[in-house]
Amino acid sequence: VAPELPLSIFKAPLLSPLAVSALLFFGALSLAELAVRVARVPRIAALVLAGAAAGWVRSRSPAAALVPVPSVLLEALAMVLLFEVGQRVPLEWIRSNPWMLVASVGETGATFCAIFAVLAYGLGRSAVESLFVGVICMAASPIVVMSVTKDLRARGQVSERALLFSTLSSVYAALTMQLLITGYLAAAHVQLTLVLQPLFQLVGAFLLAAVTAGVLRVFALLTQARGAVLTVGIICSCVLLYAYASPLGLSPVLAALFLGLLVRATDRSHSLLSHQTSETGAVLTLAYFILLGASLSWFPTWRIAGIAAAIVAIRLLAKAAVNALLAVPAALRTGKGAMVGLSLSPLSSLALMFAATIARHPGLEEAGEISAAVVLAMAILGPVLTEIAFRLAQEPTHPLP
């Protein structure tokens, strides 16, 4: 009697969640690299687009739908990248050129006002909705700016200013958002905790970052770690920070930025500086942008898409105009100021987190949808515009692909 063929292998669950995750990721990565090589799409935009395609497949295929989008992983990756932003952001610049702070406050404030005006007066949305959308969209993504800078090895005033301004705008947005949500929940009852909320956020996030920085320093001192070991230590510290920030009611974004700033300020020997982690950093960046793309929601209706388009246009205009206007006192040519504004167009996970947060509150669902639609547009278009701005300023040191 002939032996029975092991047909059972064909009945095995070939489309397990793990396999689908790997396949989607692999497919997205291949698609992104093809877009970079063949169509010369800027790498960061290509990764987000490919991630978005994977997200679309997931939404259409029953097998792929088995895989939950790991938002925790996306946010933890964002923490590691924000830590690197904190290490890179030239905060001391404000001391030697106070006009940098004026320009930063000016461009973020003007962007908020422009978006609020368009929504509240132009499109007739409620003041509360306009307020929330304005705050979410006034920021720019320092992670995208840093990633495009690193990808092009850009060096110069436009890329340096873009990193500083995008970081500061994110800090303003995080603080204001915390204040608004607390105020919204308190339903207009002014309480002491509401007034002190931004201070609590700043001090709490700083203290948590200081403790984590101490842990990281001890780890580096004890192990004398370099390269991959050090990188894993940094990732663990960022994940710990992320794990403790939310339960303590603190902004993980601020805490991660503070951690980077503190490490930079105290690491005189540069032993913890991020260039040591660049290889692993590149892997994290790839994963982050694909996951970001997969987390984006497509426009729910054409009406929302139209509102988002109006916000995108006014946001770009406000950022470019105010940066151009304040460029000369801040020691830059007007034209380069406009390029700084253009390079501040990206939005990413921070804005996505805010959009998801407000969408959970009754009465703010549509504000969340509008914000998510703007994030979708600027997560894809933003890196392209940032790259265009850097190239116009002749700052990339990498040749064209």
Binding site: N97, G156, L332, R333, Q394
Partner: protein
């Protein structure tokens, strides 16, 4: 005779100094692009100062007025340094001395705009980008072309002194080169570098220049990258072998040292231009680049070998003995360099402490801004 090579007479032994400076990122110490932005701020506030673009966006050049004494040169250099550092601070850019950047990648450099820069880039290809090295040029005034030729030949005997005292380029492309002055190796790649040909007077030099130009090898005097060359439009001899020192005080002291030697040579018989002179010139130059003040010199006449630092000390003693009115400060500064080591030694010591070239560049930037004696 060609109009371009009319030698414009100048007051003998007047001095002018040019310094090529590095523009670096304050975060990681790598070279950054900022020359055009920095120049715009500096020129708007101080239009009278001589601050120029150089071949790439990562470097600028500052130049003093024509001066006769140490105080004048040092005063000009301090003003220029302060103006450049102030403008750089507003842009969050660091400024520092040093003959090479320790770890920059030459492939990342951008050639600055301008017809001459483009021509150099077209002609020399990658060499133009590798030319991101930083030197100090010292001009000494001469009454006529013949005196300039004589001075250029006379000073060539001291080229090893100049190289060793100013050496500040031990690191290149992230490595310790084992040379104190690696910058000169980069310049040696250019076809018209090294020693000026053995012409005897200005007429002979003009004839040489005409031949070179009629064959299309050069366009102007700027195409000669010699260690020492006459500069007829300024009426000077230009010494080009110095690495940019880490402080303007050292730069001023070196300029005065050249001036003293020019005065000594003016009172001495004309140098002998034999093949042996050329032979030892290259050997001595190599010794100074490779070993700095620990190198050895061969005398072309006596054929003796002696330590370079000893030769410098004896030269300083001769200056003190034979010249009047020489200020003590610059000569003491040079003796201090002989005792405690040149800038290359200082850079290596900083690297030994930190094992990080980014930290070394930060130290260079602080030193240039503070300019404390070291």
């Amino acid at each position: 005779m060609n109009d371009l090579l009319c030698f414009r007479a100048s007051r003998p032994f007047t001095l002018g100094v040019e310094l090529e400076l590095q523009l670096v990122d304050r975060r990681d110490g790598d070279l950054t692009h900022g020359a055009t932005d920095l120049l715009r701020i500096a020129r708007r506030r101080h239009p009278q100062l001589d601050i120029k673009l150089e071949i790439t966006e990562s470097m600028i050049e500052i130049a003093t007025e024509v001066r006769f004494d140490y105080e004048g040169i040092l005063g000009d250099l301090r003003v220029l340094r302060d103006v450049v550092c102030e403008a750089a601070e507003r842009l969050n850019v660091g400024v520092c001395g040093g003959g090479t950047h320790p770890f920059q990648s030459w492939t990342e450099r951008h050639i600055a705009d301008g017809p001459r820069m483009r021509r150099i880039s077209d002609l020399y290809g990658y060499l133009a980008k590798q030319f991101t090295v930083f030197g100090q040029h010292v001009h000494v005034g001469c009454p006529d072309g013949d005196a300039a030729i004589a001075l250029a030949h006379g000073l060539s005997r001291y080229v090893p002194h100049f190289i060793a005292l100013a050496a500040s380029s031990p690191f290149l492309q992230g490595e310790d080169t084992a040379f104190d002055c690696a910058r000169m190796n980069t310049i040696s790649s250019f076809p018209l570098s090294g020693r000026m040909p053995s012409v005897r007077d200005w007429a002979e030099f003009n004839s040489y220049f005409d031949k070179m130009r009629s064959t299309g090898i050069v366009d102007s005097m700027k195409d000669f990258y010699w260690d020492i060359r006459p500069k007829p439009e300024y009426g000077t001899v230009e010494v080009r072998v110095f690495d940019t020192p880490l402080s303007v005080e050292r730069a001023a002291a070196l300029a005065v040292y050249v001036q003293c030697l020019a005065r000594l040579l003016a009172a001495s018989p004309r140098p002998d231009l034999t093949q042996d002179t050329e032979l030892v010139y290259r050997f001595n130059r190599f010794q100074a680049c490779r070993f700095g003040l620990r190198g050895e010199l061969v005398d072309p006449i006596t054929r003796e070998r002696r330590p370079l630092h000893q030769d410098v000390r004896e030269t300083i003693a001769t200056i003190r003995r034979q010249l009047r009115g020489v200020p003590s400060e610059p000569l003491q500064s040079i003796e201090h360099c002989l005792d405690s080591g040149n800038d290359a030694a200082w850079l290596r010591a900083r690297f030994a402490q930190s094992r990080n070239l980014g930290v070394v560049v930060n130290a260079q930037t602080s030193l240039f801004a503070r300019s404390r004696a070291h």
